[in-house]
């Protein structure tokens, strides 16, 4: 993809739907912490000049969904509307139908024959299924009704086999580069010696874990489980928004969404050849077992470590342990004994070989990291260092998915794979560079500017939705500490229709495929978690802000 096209596809300043990439990213950056390091790489020229594009790419209908978002248009998409005179039938307006993209053809045939009343009923049934199953996330700080459901939309997001083949090549390339990068960073730091990444990006980065220097993780694997957050802006334009190399969550939704679709619309799966996702837990267990440490005797014993019942992702932790057929443990179930980490069973302590931990590095071991942690296991890191246990993902992987390192990912991919990156990064201006700062100051109304180590969506500017006064105030902050900020363009994210009472309506989506890494290879589950911003025009897919999920299909081809 050439530079001009890249920029053209990316930049879309000042449009009403561009509610803010930063808010969007915040929604995705569930586990990240941000480092506070200056960014010193020279700016790439192609990032400077923005081009304009006129419409949003809809994955079902192709181009032309822009008009659905104009203010005088009802919520329904132009493609499908409920016809009041003949209750119960979804019909399509011929003019818009021409754009129907091939992966959606069989689905569209089915949909047009469907009765909207039945679909509404099915949508409600789906919610009931989720409620009963208890697929919830916890909201912190609320004693009552602390568990919420994430809304589920019954219209699947469909990806063709050809699209997926390219995506998965790009994902595998990126994940291999991330693992090579981590090994390098904790050993010889060749990439720093080669001048591709400034040394202070690593040394002064809060996500860099000095305790990991020189450690060889069992099987040579750092990131056993990775979630790559992707967005789409056009037919062949995918961007990586974020790499999740610590403890990516959401895979239980991927599995339960498919299960729910199977139950509600079995006929859809005989009309469409959808690649299965259900072997993820089996693959996960096999992948983890393949990384067992030298101390393992016999079949590797795998366990999932959860912070406990009140963690927001507890449902997922128990779900994965259940589906893998392994124990779900908390810190107080474990102790260090005879050079191993052992779990308290009804018949005594039993060693664990591989621990899939869903606890952050900092809380893993009060003796080696945060001494106030009650969630971890005292001394587990010493056992890890001695080869007595595999911790997945390895401690210290946060250096690879850190927001500041993100802007170097294309270089990282080139450096370790010797290939051009298949997946693109979102261009990022590092405001400590004079040329970048000048550009950002000139284009504040169309950019998203955020603190390098801010989180929670605070301290950032979403240009397109901010008033002049807000922009002026932010400009002063930016000028006072430019090194504290990065800026990105507002992306014209693709849409996929959702089902509403008024018919189909386009909503912005992202995609998080799940990747398993072991000495046996890289396994990417075809599909992933599609999150959808349910509010009209919104780019925020965060579940706490009206975000929902969809089943994601990858078609056999």
């Amino acid at each position: 993809m050439n530079a001009a096209r890249l920029a053209r596809g990316l930049l879309r300043p000042g449009t009403p739907v561009a509610a803010g990439l930063a808010a969007f990213r915040h929604g995705l950056a569930l586990a990240s912490t941000l480092p506070g390091c200056p960014i010193v790489q020279p700016l790439r020229p192609h990032m400077i000049e923005p081009m304009r594009m006129t419409s949003t790419f809809d994955e079902m209908w192709g181009r032309g969904m822009g008009q659905a978002q104009s203010s005088d248009c009802e919520d329904a998409a132009p493609g499908l509307q409920v016809q009041a005179a003949r209750p119960g039938r979804l019909t399509q307006a011929q003019t818009m139908y021409e754009g129907l993209r091939p992966p959606y053809r069989a689905f569209d045939d089915w949909l047009r024959a469907e009765n909207p009343a039945r679909l509404l009923k099915k949508q409600r049934e789906a919610e009931e299924v989720f409620r009963l199953t208890g697929i919830t996330f916890n909201v912190y700080g609320r004693a009552e009704a602390a568990e919420r459901l994430i809304p589920f939309d019954i219209i699947p997001r469909i990806i063709s086999g050809r699209e997926w083949a390219r995506l998965s090549r790009g994902i595998e390339q990126r994940v291999r580069a991330i693992n090579a990068f981590l090994h390098d960073i904790y050993h010889r730091q060749e990439i720093v010696r080669a001048g591709r990444i400034p040394v202070e990006m690593i040394a002064r980065n809060a996500a860099f874990l000095p305790q990991m220097i020189g450690i060889e993780p069992p099987g040579g694997v750092y990131t056993h489980i990775v979630g790559i957050d992707l967005v789409r802006t056009g037919e062949d334009e995918f961007f990586v928004l974020e790499d999740n190399a610590r403890t990516p969550s959401g895979v239980s939704y991927m599995l339960e969404n498919r299960e729910t679709m199977f139950q509600m619309f079995p006929e859809l799966f005989s009309r469409n050849r959808v690649r299965p996702v259900s072997n993820y837990p089996r693959n996960l267990r096999r992948s983890l077992a393949a990384c067992a440490p030298a101390a393992t005797a016999g079949d590797p014993v795998v366990a999932v470590l959860t912070p406990g019942l009140y963690n927001s992702a507890y449902y997922e932790h128990s779900f994965l342990a259940d589906k893998m057929g392994v124990e779900l443990v908390e810190g107080h179930d474990l102790r260090v004994m005879d050079g191993r980490v052992a779990m308290r069973t009804t018949t005594g302590y039993k060693p664990i070989d591989v621990l899939y931990r869903r606890v952050d590095d900092d809380y893993l071991d009060p003796l080696n990291f945060n001494p106030d942690s009650g969630l971890g296991v005292p001394g587990i890191f010493d056992i890890y260092r001695a080869g007595g246990i595999t911790i997945a993902n390895a401690p210290g992987t946060g250096i690879a998915d850190d927001k500041a390192i993100y802007s170097y990912m294309p270089d990282i991919v080139r450096f370790y794979t010797g290939e051009a990156p298949i997946l693109q990064n979102v261009p990022t201006w590092r405001c400590n560079e004079p040329a970048a700062l000048a550009y950002v100051l000139d284009h504040l109304p169309e950019l998203v500017v955020k603190e390098v180590h801010g989180s929670g969506g605070y301290g950032m500017l979403v240009g397109p939705t901010s008033s002049r006064k807000e922009i002026a105030a932010f400009r002063d902050k930016l000028l006072a500490r430019p090194g504290n900020y990065i800026a990105q363009p507002t992306l014209a994210l693709s849409t996929v229709p959702i089902f509403t009472r008024a018919g189909l309506a386009p909503r912005h989506v992202d995609l998080r495929p799940y990747v398993l890494v072991s000495p046996e290879g890289v396994t990417i589950t075809p599909g992933g978690l599609t999150r959808v911003a349910l509010r009209k025009g919104s780019l925020v897919v965060n579940s706490s802000q009206g975000g929902g999920t969809k089943d994601t299909w990858v078609l056999e081809e």
Binding site: L328, D333, T345, T346, T347
Partner: protein, 312 residues
């Protein structure tokens, strides 16, 4: 299995059993109250049955039907109210989710959602029968899913231990509270009023029909005591519950290859319980006997927690 998981299963099923029994006690209380002029006095006895009498008195000056029912069903200040124990059962189920089948988990989760709604505010006297039925039905629903889908392994045994520790305790308390009705009648034929109370006692454990099958129409205190304490065919009796404890300890000892102190204690309690006939128990003093039983059951419970490493 993790010790924590064994403990979670044990408590999940204790709480489920307690929710059902509490609903039964409230139903019995209401029944008695309908037949008495001093209805509120009767509620004192019912509150004592649930072992929350001290906590109730700390909060309320006097006993009224309204407050007693609210306390036992909905009050968050009462750690054994139906609302609180159903919530506790569901939290334990979440804790041990990997040990349960999907059916059992969904049944518990649904029960919690339904009962949380039904008990979110004071239950009016008019709605009380339906609400109490609902509690019993939900308990039966979970029990059915459990019996129908769970593998008979150690997971099953720990759940059963919880069920029968709680049931033995609850039945013993029920008999204890009514012992003042039963005792004088062991020598004399009771008044018509006492007959109503005995029947209520039977009714609260859904055993009127079973009693009639066993003893005919002749309602006698001695027979009721024998039935509730010693009849091994009656599924809510003390003897039945303790017998089940012994059975489940046997299964556990067999599968683990060791017989821990709790198993021996349960066996001793069982032998003790069945070695005396009902007349001997009544002569010795029903209340003292029950107190011994309650202490014995509690001791088996705490020894189980130690033997199977429920806690770190």
């Amino acid at each position: 299995m993790l010790g924590k998981t064994a403990g979670g299963l044990y408590w999940m099923f204790r709480y489920l059993e307690r929710s059902e029994n509490t609903a039964r006690f409230v139903a019995a209380g209401q029944r008695i109250a309908l037949t008495r002029s001093h209805a509120d006095d009767e509620w004192t006895g019912v509150l004592q049955t649930t072992a929350t009498w001290d906590a109730y008195r700390a909060k309320h000056g006097e006993v009224t039907q309204d407050e007693a029912v609210h306390w036992m069903l909905c009050d968050r200040d009462n750690s054994s109210s139906v609302l609180r124990v159903v919530e506790a059962a569901r939290n334990n189920a979440r804790l041990v989710r990997t040990a349960l089948t999907r059916e059992v988990w969904e049944s518990v989760n649904e029960s919690w959602m339904i009962l949380k709604e039904a008990l979110s505010q004071r239950v009016s006297e008019r709605d009380l029968p339906q609400v109490l039925t609902l509690v019993r039905q939900r308990s039966a629903h979970v029990r059915g899913a459990f019996a129908g889908t769970m593998l008979r392994n150690d997971i099953y045994n720990f759940a059963r231990l919880g069920t029968f520790i709680e049931r033995a305790d609850n039945t013993a308390r029920l008999v204890d509270v009514k012992s003042y009705v039963l005792l004088p009648s062991s020598q004399a034929v009771g008044s018509s009023l006492d007959n109503v109370q005995w029947e209520t006692l039977l009714r609260s454990v859904s055993a009127e029909g079973a009693y009639r099958m066993t003893y005919g129409q002749d309602v006698r205190a001695r027979n009721i005591a024998q039935f509730l304490l010693l009849d091994r065919r009656m599924p809510r009796s003390l003897a039945f519950s303790v017998g089940k404890l012994v059975d489940n300890f046997h299964f556990l000892s067999d599968s683990y290859g060791t017989r821990p102190p709790s198993a021996a204690q349960a066996q001793a309690l069982h032998d003790d319980l069945l070695s005396s006939g009902i007349d001997e128990i009544l002569d010795r003093g029903l209340h003292d006997y029950i107190q011994d039983v309650l202490r014995g059951v509690a001791a088996v419970g705490s020894q189980t927690e130690v033997d199977y490493r429920f806690y770190a």
